[in-house]
Structure formats: C-alpha cells, structure tokens
C-alpha cells in the first residue's frame, strides 16, 4: 500500500508542465467545434424557448413577452391534444413493431445460410436510404387507386375493388400506415443493434453457463438479454428521439390528415410556425417534445455512466 501511494505523484509531477500546454492546445483544437455547436444549436435553442414565451409572428416580429399564454392557448385546443396523443401512438407503436421485427430479424440473420450476406445487405436498405424518398415509394404503394397492396388483396379475394381500403384517407388506417412506414424504416437499425449486442457476448461466458446447467431460455434471458441491454437501450434512445420529433413521414404521406388523425408534434409545429407564420405558437408546440427528450437523454446518460463503473 505504502509503496503504491508513494509512486503515484512522480509521473504526475513529470507531466505537470506538459499538462498546461496540453490544456491550451486542447482548448484551441476543440474551440471551433464547440463554438459552432453553441452558436447554431445552443443559441437557437434558447431562441426557441423565448419565442414560445413571446407574441412573435412573421407578420408582427415583436419580442413582446407574454409568459406562458401561448402554452395555455395550445393545451386548451382539442386539436393539439389529439396531436400530442398521436405523437405518442406513432412513436411507441412504431418502436414496438420495429423492436419485434428487429429481434426476430436478428435471430434469423444470426444463423448461417447460403446468401446471408446478400440478404443482410438488402435488409439494411430501409434504414440507409433517405427516408423522404422511401416514404414517397410507400405513398405510391398506398395510392388510393393504384395501390399494389390493394391489388394483391383484391387478387387474393380478401376485398373487392369497391370496398378496398383507402389507406391514407381513413383516420385509423392512415395512422397505421405511417406507423408501418416508420417501423419499416427502423427495424433494420434494430436488427443491427441486436446483432452487434448478441455477437459481442463472449462465448466462454455462455459455455460456462451451459456447463453449469443453464438451458437455452436461461442463457437467453439471464445472460444474453442483460448483457445486450445497454446497447439496445442506446438504440432505443435513437429510435424514440428521431420518431418522436419526426416530420418527414407524416408531411409527405398524409399532411397530418385526414382531419388531423396523423398530425404529430413536429408536423403541427411546422404547420403553425412555418406555414402559418405563427412562430410563437409553433415554437411552443415544438417545445412539448422537450420533456420526452430530457427523460430519454437522462436515461442514456445513466446507461453510459453505468457502463463506465
């Protein structure tokens, strides 16, 4: 103990003068990046908060402070409450569907079979390709008249042409459609995350458990699942954040319709703040994303910290 305690200060003293220079150079190198992020993320974020507390519109760009009046306006509007619940349905519906598809997809792709690499490369596509472009392809597949999905359903005899579903024109089906597209977009990401987690579980741990008498399910739920939980949690953080704040799928496929059935926070913020020019109310709507984002981010930080301990 004593010997160790004495030997610690030595290298520290040796590097002390270096450390000062390192600090200076370090700040110089990291400065531009931090400045960029502060100016174009930090400042706009504070502006967004202030907008939501002001009476700012593009027709009357005043910075008059109105307190929480905008928020009171918003929560008293039943259309907004529907938007808020839509956002939760959209987020959790598509994340759950995506996770289920991802877990099964990972199990399938874990097993070697001829052509696995090719299938794997194709399965990544929904996540890689720009979502706006893939969404337009889905919009065409859900077309009211030339939908290939309806054509198949009609050909199989499930529905007739006269009562074929109008995917994007019926409230519940429209919500289901945007959820499907978003789950479709995220499931490859979930597969990749699960695969990365499962393949990183050391084989000797599994072997030791097997020797000790653990069966398939025990190995699966008491070893693999706890070990891949951090990486799955981080994947889920990404999924939730990007879905909860999404605009493009709803904007392109349904424009929030029919009658607001698929309007989500990002879309409502865009409609109010940009299209209608009511910046203050738009900012207030967008800020409703913040609590969820904070919860998710705190959860992520805890996971990172737990990893380091």
């Amino acid at each position: 103990m004593v010997a160790i305690a004495e030997s610690v200060p030595k290298p520290r003293a040796r590097f002390r003068f270096m450390l000062d220079r390192r600090g200076v150079l370090g700040s110089l190198l990291v400065g531009p990046a931090i400045l960029y992020v502060l100016l174009l993320v930090g400042v706009p974020f504070l502006m967004a908060v202030y907008y939501s507390l002001s009476a700012y519109t593009i027709y009357n760009p005043s910075w008059k402070f109105v307190g929480v009046a905008n928020f009171i306006d918003i929560v008293q509007n039943p259309v907004f409450l529907q938007t808020l619940s839509n956002t939760f349905i959209f987020t959790f519906g598509s994340q759950i569907l995506g996770l289920i598809l991802g877990k099964f997809g990972a199990l399938v792709l874990l097993k070697p079979f001829p052509g696995r690499k090719f299938v794997r490369a194709l399965v990544i596509l929904p996540w890689a390709v720009p979502i706006a472009l893939a969404t337009v392809a889905w919009q065409w597949m859900f077309d009211s008249l030339y939908s290939v999905i309806n054509w198949t359903l009609i050909a199989l005899g499930f529905v007739t042409r006269s009562n074929a579903p109008n995917w994007l024109g019926t409230p519940d089906l429209a919500m289901l459609s945007v959820i499907i597209v978003n789950a479709w977009r995220f499931f490859p990401f979930a597969i990749v995350i699960f695969l990365a987690g499962i393949t990183a579980v050391p084989q000797d741990v599994l072997d030791a458990a097997t020797v000790d008498g653990a069966g398939f399910w025990r190995r699966n739920y008491q070893i693999i699942v706890p070990m891949i939980l951090p990486i799955v949690a981080i994947g889920l953080v990404f999924g939730i954040v990007f879905t909860f704040t999404d605009l493009s799928i709803v904007f392109l496929m349904t424009q929030g319709g029919p009658v607001g059935a698929t309007s989500v926070l990002g879309f409502a913020g865009f409609q109010t703040g940009i299209t209608s020019g009511d910046v203050s109310h738009g900012a207030a709507i967008s800020l409703f994303m913040l609590p969820v984002l904070l919860v998710v981010v705190v959860a992520m930080l805890r996971f990172i910290r737990r990893r380091e301990i």
Binding site: R21, R22, G23, L25, G26, L28, L29, V30, P32, A33, Y36, V37, L40, V41, V43, F45, M47, A48, G105, V108, L109, K111, F113, V119, L122, I124, L125, A128, V129, P130, I131, A132, T135, V136, A137, M141, Y146, V148, F187, V192, I193, A196, G197, A200, I234, V237, T245, L247, L252, G266, G269, F270, V279, G282, S286, M289, L293, V296, L301, I304
Partner: protein, 282 residues
C-alpha cells in the same frame, strides 16, 4: 427417423419462410421503385394489369423526362455541392476537436464529448423556427447555402464522437515517441495521429455526405425555389403538378438518389454502429 426428418424439413421451411419474409419486407419498396421507374404510363396506370412485372416493354421515358424536362440535374449538383462543403467544414472542425477530447483534455474531455454528442439528439423540428431567422439574418433565405451553414450542426457532433473513438483506439505510444523525438504536440497530431486515422476520416467523409443526403426537415423549411433544392427535397416535393404525381419520374429520381447511399451504408455499417453505441459493448 422419418418423423425427425419431417420435423427438420418443417423447421427448415419455417426458417427460410422467415428469411423470405424479411427479404420481401425490406426489399419490396425498392423493387417497386425500380419497376415503376421503367414502366410505361399506360402500364403503370391500369388497374387490370398485374402490377408486379412489365406488361409493356420497359421504357426509359421517365429517366429522359427527369433529366430533360425537370431540374433533376440541378438538384443532383446542389446536393453534391452541399455535401462537399459540409464535409469540408465538418472535417476541419471535428477532426481537431475529436483529437483534443480524446487525448488532450483528460476527463473534462470525456464529459465534453458526451455533451457534444447529445446535441446530435436535439431535433431539427425544435430548432427550425429560430434557425430560419438566423438564416434570414445571414441573408441566406431560400438558398442552398443555408443548408451548408446548418447541416454541420448535426454532422459535427456525430463525427466528433465517431473520431474520438478512432483516436482513443490508436496506441498513444506512437505520438509519445514522436514527441520524445522532438515533434511538437501539434506536430504529433498532424504528422502521426491524422495519417494513422485515415480509415476513420474516410468513414466520417462518407457519413457526412450521406447524412446531408438524408436530411429533409431543414431543406423543406429553408428552401422553396426549385433551383435551390437538394435532390431529396426536389424529388419528394417538386415532381407534383397540382394533384398529379409523376410517379414514374418520382421513383426514377428516388432510385438514382438512393443507390449511392445504400452502397455507402453497407460498406461502412459496422463503423457507424460502433460510432453511435460508443462501445456500449466491450
């Protein structure tokens, strides 16, 4: 014995059924893009024809229309310019920042790195209102240069995080040896760390480029003139006249824009994953 064989066959059938399910689920929309973009309009807009293959011979008319009668070539060029400029800005800022956070600033660097990475999670739909004012103040409203200014707000955090991982994985002894041999601290970064992390830099270049191609919200918010649009926005919003969607042209454009991104992702997927999970699995 025969029974076991039957069970085995059934298991195999189930397994390959699952493979086929995922294959079709992932690939069908892209198959649909391809087949739509090569079909004649008469074939496309018919409820009688079987939609899954060509009933008329394939045609290039949609591609021809796309390049000759629309601004598609301009959008392609815009996206290329935006991608190159954003990549340059990102490299110049993120490379030194990542090195500094990985090597020079100790435990504050670690915390700062996590802080920078968290800004990647601040969504565009929270920032687009104030940023559109910032863009207007800079005199860049309705110009693709607005995107060059704004896109680094998410590429810098992402790439700094990714490069931090790369620098941490380099053996520090190489730089220490260079310093002992008389190299300055900055010299060790430029002459040793940068050349050694070239694979990381390549990854960052590819991902910055694809992130700019994938972005939609800022482009939609800041740009309304057709000739300033990047390719994703142009294809998704500009090939519609009134109520009429030019599906053949839209799918052809989407196909052209998707192919490079799809290839890039498949080549660099592992690095992307290890980048965002930050080594959550050791």
């Amino acid at each position: 014995m025969q029974r076991k064989g039957l069970v085995g066959v059934l298991q195999d059938a189930g397994f390959y059924g699952a493979v086929a399910f995922f294959f079709i689920l992932a690939a069908f929309p892209f198959y649909w893009m391809v087949i739509t973009s090569f079909k004649t309009n008469a074939d496309l807009y018919s409820v009688q024809h079987i939609p899954f293959w060509f009933n008329d011979p394939p045609t290039l008319e949609h591609f021809r229309y796309l390049f000759e009668k629309t601004l598609f070539a301009t959008w392609l060029l815009n996206s290329l310019i935006i991608g190159l400029c954003v990549t340059a800005i990102t490299l110049v800022t993120a490379l030194p920042a990542a090195y500094s956070l990985a090597r020079l600033t100790g435990s504050t660097g670690e915390a700062l790195g996590i802080g920078i990475f968290l800004t990647y999670l601040v969504p565009p739909t929270l920032l687009f209102l104030p940023l559109s004012r910032v863009v207007a103040t800079l005199g860049l409203q309705n110009s693709m240069w607005a995107l060059v200014v704004v896109y680094p707000t998410f590429t810098i955090p992402f790439c700094t995080w990714l490069l931090m991982g790369f620098f941490k994985a380099l053996p520090v002894e190489i730089e220490e040896a260079a310093i002992v041999d008389g190299c300055s601290l900055f010299g060790a970064f430029v002459k040793m760390a940068i050349p050694l992390s070239l694979p990381g830099i390549l990854t960052v270049v590819i991902f910055t480029f694809t992130l700019t191609l994938q972005e939609f919200v800022y482009a939609l918010t800041f740009i309304s003139s057709s000739d300033q649009k990047p390719i994703t926005l142009g294809v998704a919003t500009d090939l519609i006249r009134g109520d009429i969607f030019y599906w053949g042209e839209i799918m052809a454009g989407a196909l052209i824009a998707s192919i490079p991104v799809a290839i890039a992702y498949n080549l660099f997927l592992d690095r992307f994953i290890s980048g965002i999970t930050g080594g959550a699995v050791k």
